[in-house]
Symmetry: C6
Subunit: 198 residues, 6 copies
């Protein structure tokens, strides 16, 4: 049985799209802050490349703190923990990059993620979004999970165009080239309830 | 020969349910505090995923210290050690998550865990409880061990409904979706004897 | 050729019972203090589980410093080194737990261990002693080594009852459930000669 | 489908040439600065030798800070992160050395890299550029990606001379022996837009 | 070709006896001090057990500094490096223990090691010397190398008694039980030339 | 194609002799200093034993700073990076020891290495030079590379005597027993151009 989209009440929780041996699925990226010294902790039975995505997202945010309207001193005063349920499933690959980025931006801004949105795409340090594989399976899983909007790399548009239109009904696609576009689309202006003062 | 439920006299000791190659069993999660600098030490011949559960439980508690009525300064003044007997048996998987969470909340509040209760369920950073496997075997083991109440994920209810009713006699089930529910059910208002002043 | 019991003149040296591929044997747990910052160093060609036992013993002592009448500041001012000769033999498993506990309590109290005593049993953080395997072989080895008293877990009593009585002649057994009982039995009130002032 | 040359708008982004199992390709070296204590972070699914190249480039720049007109105090005030997309592809070998060097010099000087240039060559601590393999495949990939100028080690000239002239049309080659020549050719005098004040 | 005994001019250089696949050989343990913070560095292509011997020797000396007439503050002001040539040969096992102990005592006292002496024996934290294997081969190698005196564990006497007397001609044996005896026999009262003031 | 001798203009660059699967070759040891805290960084796709040689050379220099006329405070104020091109070739073994020693002495004294010299030999902490293998192949490679003088261990003289005299024409051999001899022969009195003030 597959996961369902939940809600966007909690800062740092974002819905990603995964491509597994048994087909597509959604996954959740969760991140939280605790008082600390700037450590980054990553769990969820992740492989090296997926852990690197978390590091890249974090470093990108640090390097672009000003543009993102973040006070750089928060990075030294909190530890960040990123987790990807479900622990029993080994996970790897770069495709959760934009989901991790969105999770961390939501966390540091304490802003809500757009409702019913999911995403998949590799990130790079220079701010680009790169295409990823398994798009068809991921889209089918997104529909089953009641996702309404999907962010993909511009270069994945051709993969969508090869899918029968009936499968795409009810889905809105956002094609992006830059990580800043992902943030613009996915992060709302609304603070989460009980937003932390960082 | 199987373990038996013991008692709830000591802070940080909680009964979990395990699914092993030779069937279900109960296991104990133990945790203690010693003066220190906030290190987390984990023993018991555990695999990577089970160690990650301990980290997640700890980070969740740190991030929700206020809600849990904990003074965040304790996290820097004590080391936490979590142990899962028996050392000769390798253990892994995410299912001890809620048991570890309960152990740590009991430890930091110095409150008694509810009597004759056991539990099994994966935890996530955003506060959800996820379903786990081996429910039938775990329930049988709980009965043998004289457990009276069991906490499970709501999504594991279907597994209980497939068990013959006679096996369930004498057991009360608590189905939960959130980690806060686990804490509400499992942690009593009563301090343990000789409770530490943290 | 097998080891023989030696004596109890030195703080931190305790006789354990081991079960090896060539039958039972006694082994020595040795521990010493040197000025330092609280590091725990473990040698003797030990596997992961046996190293964990040393950590558990150390953490238990730290967490119960008051009960054990120890000034907690010593833990920060000394390094502890635990060694298990003989280096050429790989060793693993949890059964040296109570022996390591006794070694460390003797070390920090600078008190003599009871004469001609040996022991085997797993320890847990909550203060329990758990049963271990290979009891028959260990008892025979203890006799050969001229041990007079043996500490075992209460749950290992059944293993002793299956041994022919003639093999048990001259041996006194102490069956325990709690780590505090081990300490009461094994640690004397007498300081070692040239006891260190900690 | 292969990557295309992008642009030189961002400090620290440089185009390299790679030789993969499926032929030549271009790759991007990206590097960014974030406030920190001088740590060097390297991602991109890289093997040991490729990571060493990054270390060598960094140490060369530190040791030659004066010649490069860099204030040595910046090395202690920032963390450097070097990333090589795409994360799904394992990469190794020394041939990205001069590309990494150029990336870091651009980063620390906040100067633009020359437009439409790509490069491949091993670096050494004493400032030499060493020849690398796969030149023919790399050149074809560079053309496909619309590269106009290429920096190679002098010792790779013979590899170019063995390529049919028609394949080389539109490409300008710079043959170098020293790392200082690479910097002179590849780093322009123009600051990037929104150059950071280090 | 085999090594020859050299001399005792340098502090920290001691001759040990090794048992290799091609028979017995002598080996040298070398140790030096450099200004530092008390780190212990061990090289020579050594396995885990042989490295543990170095740790045990070092900890024993620290714990018995007073008895050895050493100012404990030196342990924090210098780094110790122990090396066992020849780097191309992997080495392991506990039998270099007393040789390492002697090397470190010579180093910290800056006293000469007795001339023409070699040794082999395991050490323990409680100050015992334990027997080791390969005695016959080691003795033959010692003679070839022009060693005159040999320190062995008392329990290795039986191995010597099984060697034909003609092979033992010219060799004096010291059988010891305690590490303090090794030091008494092997360390002279004479300072090395240009002894360091520690 | 083989490497050629270059020059002695740069501090810390020394020519060694290597014995590879495809015969002898020369190699370069390069080392540089950067402001730091005394870290030693080693790159070049080196195995454990070759890395140990670098450590031994460094520790020997630290321990003999006075004799070498070096101010010991430099060791804490700079990081040392040693690199052995070419990164694509895995390298191991102790035979680069005297080359690394010479490189570091040149680096810390900022003195030129003797012109047209190459060397091969293992080093030890007590200051000895030990013989190494592959001498014939190394000598032929040295000639091809236009080396004029070679430093070898005294014990390698016999290997030279077995080489046909015509192959040795134009080569001068220095046979040494001590590391101090290597330094005397290989390090000139002339400072390198633009010598750093340490
Ligand atoms: Ca799922
Ligand atoms: Ca994703
Ligand atoms: Ca059990
Ligand atoms: Ca459980
Ligand atoms: Ca034994
Ligand atoms: Ca034992
Ligand atoms: Ca590509
Ligand atoms: Ca390249
Ligand atoms: Ca030898
Ligand atoms: Ca030896
Ligand atoms: Ca070469
Ligand atoms: Ca060499």
């Amino acid at each position: 049985e597959r996961d369902k989209y939940e809600n966007n009440d909690v800062a740092g929780v974002v819905t990603g799209l995964a491509w597994t041996q048994v087909g597509g699925d959604i996954l959740f990226i969760e991140s939280i802050l605790s008082k600390g010294k700037g450590n980054l902790n990553i769990t969820g039975n992740l492989g090296k490349v997926m852990k690197e995505s978390a590091t890249i997202a974090m470093e990108y945010i640090k390097a672009n703190a000003e543009t993102l309207n973040l006070d750089p001193s928060v990075f030294d005063k909190y530890n960040v923990h990123i987790h990807v349920p479900e622990g029993a499933t080994p996970k790897d690959g770069p495709s959760a990059g934009i989901t991790m980025l969105t999770s961390l931006v939501s966390l540091f801004t304490q802003k809500k993620v757009k409702k019913s949105i999911a995403m998949t795409g590799e990130i790079t340090l220079r701010g680009k979004v790169l295409p990823v594989g398994g798009i068809k399976e991921k889209i089918l899983a997104a529909k089953r999970a009641r996702i309404k909007e999907i962010i993909l790399c511009e270069d994945n548009k051709r993969d969508i165009e090869e899918i029968k239109e009936e499968y795409l009904k009810g889905l809105t696609f956002h094609y992006v080239k830059e990580m800043s576009e992902v943030i613009n689309i996915a992060i709302t202006d609304e603070k989460v309830k009980n937003a932390k003062e960082l």
